[in-house]
């Protein structure tokens, strides 16, 4: 082994070594022991006990494991826990207020019955929360007319919501109600509306 030099700030040279990390999850710093190959998903579920984030395909195809890192939606099944140690991680358990008041997106999913079995729901909700933030930032999607100059929030009509949410699969096919739930929150929180 070549000895790490000062500009290698972090190294785990023994593949079998467990490393103690500090992960910031839902505002709390948690010490967790992981191996280099431990995914963020497994660290959250198996080491920290936050089982709200679901393991669906475990290959980045279904979106059930979606969490936010520094506000950006990512797939925790393809993220190494080691790589995530600098970020602020938000999971489904971190959305509700401390007094238990649900996040508007959680409430909308419940009110619109936007689920059947519910297994994909935490990932759907995390993704939907990020979709609104991306739209607020004026980020385009494949459904956005390239000639349209976005200023302020991108308009989230049904086509946009379906495109932006396409990374979250629902095998029960509750899509109709998922779109309705996301749309309701998008309209209620649109800063451009009176």
């Amino acid at each position: 082994m070549v000895a790490p030099r000062p500009d290698t700030a972090f190294a785990v040279h023994d593949p079998l070594a467990a490393v103690t990390l500090r992960l910031t999850v839902n505002g709390a710093v948690t010490e967790v022991s992981v191996e280099p190959w431990t995914t963020l998903l497994d660290a959250l579920r198996e080491r920290i006990g936050l089982t709200g984030t679901k393991k669906g395909c475990d290959h980045g195809a279904c979106g059930a494991c979606t969490v936010l890192i520094d506000g950006r939606r990512v797939l925790s099944c393809l993220t190494l826990a080691l790589s995530a140690r600098d970020g602020a991680i938000t999971t489904i358990e971190g959305l509700a207020a401390p007094d238990g008041t649900l996040h508007p997106m959680q409430r909308a999913f419940a009110e619109h019955d936007a689920l059947q079995c519910g297994y994909c729901t935490p990932g759907q909700i995390m993704s939907a929360v990020a979709v609104l933030a991306e739209a607020d930032a004026g980020r385009p999607s494949a459904a956005t007319d390239p000639a349209h100059r976005v200023t302020g929030r991108a308009v989230l009509d049904e086509r946009e919501i379906r495109e932006r949410m396409s990374g979250n699969l629902c095998r029960c096919a509750a899509y109709q109600n998922i779109v309705a739930a996301v749309r309701e929150v998008a309209e209620a929180t649109d800063p451009s509306r009176p």
């Binding site: 070549v2 790490p4 030099r5 500009d7 290698t8 700030a9 972090f10 190294a11 785990v12 040279h13 023994d14 593949p15 079998l16 191996e35 280099p36 190959w37 995914t39 475990d58 290959h59 980045g60 979106g63 979606t66 950006r72 939606r73 990512v74 797939l75 393809l78 993220t79 190494l80 080691l82 790589s83 993704s127 990020a130 979709v131 991306e134 930032a137 004026g138 980020r139 385009p140 999607s141 494949a142 956005t144 390239p146 000639a147 379906r162 495109e163 932006r164 949410m165 396409s166 990374g167 979250n168």
Partner: protein
Amino acid sequence: MQPFSYVEPRSRAEALRLAQAYPEARFLAGGTTLVDLMKSGVVHPPMLIDVNRIGGLDEIEAAEGSLRLGALARMSDAASHEAVRTQAPGLSESLLFAASGQLRNMASLGGNLLQRTRCLYFRDRHFPCNKRAPGSGCGAIDGENRALAVLGTSAACIANYPGDFAIMLVALDGTVYLDGPAGERAVPAATFHRLPADTPHIETVLAPGEMITAISLPLGALSRQSRYLKVRDRSSYEYASVSVAAAADFAPDGTIRDARLALGGLAAKPWPVTEAALLLAGRRPDDPVAMGRLMDAAVDGARPRSGNAYKVPQARSAIRRAFATLARRSARSVA
């Protein structure tokens, strides 16, 4: 996943030194291809060199008629960048039509160029595959090949290159910048990927220990009138069966001054159709003779297999549609 060691260099020089010291190591950027393939047992590097904390590799800048994209810029950030959207809209489209919102937030542009084929035989280690296990044979040639390539294939491999961004990059005369043991060099995007021939496991011109540092493309009339058309089994979050990266500069009378074309989804590598400029110059996109010649040139040499012959007529239609859309957009912007 098989156990691996993990190093996190803070400088490019240190990353390259580590890559030279550990030839079996792999660079980790977004991880969306690599971690997936490691979980499937398709690749099993003993060490990952996480390059995400190297500064200065994720910048996006447009200046002096050129767009420069750092290799660590994420797909979503590049797609949303104002200069990319306004001066190379087809490049933004090629990124937005790929993968999902989550994956685009993770995946780097350098890693995107290097994404591996979705051929089922490559991804399942229980089957023979000359790309995954050289010399083991090809399960796809006489197997399930509906999604695979009809252009640029060989007797050893008919895997298709699955990416979108690289197709537009090739159409717009992009360049890939590399750094490695022999120093820095620039490679035309059109020659960055290799044809499979009898070594399908070697997919690019990257030398051992080399990394992609940046990507650039010229900005101008062509990039500003570029369009990425993707044909696929479902309307979002799906790989292309055929894709068309097209660009055309129109004269005020609607004739084409200059044009570019590259195809994706149906070829072993991003597939430039270099005849486009010559065949379309002075013609209109609705000129059936010129368009017919272009479509013939584009699929010349195609070798369909049992399940993928549909890609040839699909590509022909998509080419015509992409240039028709460009003509409409051009007319709209003039009006």
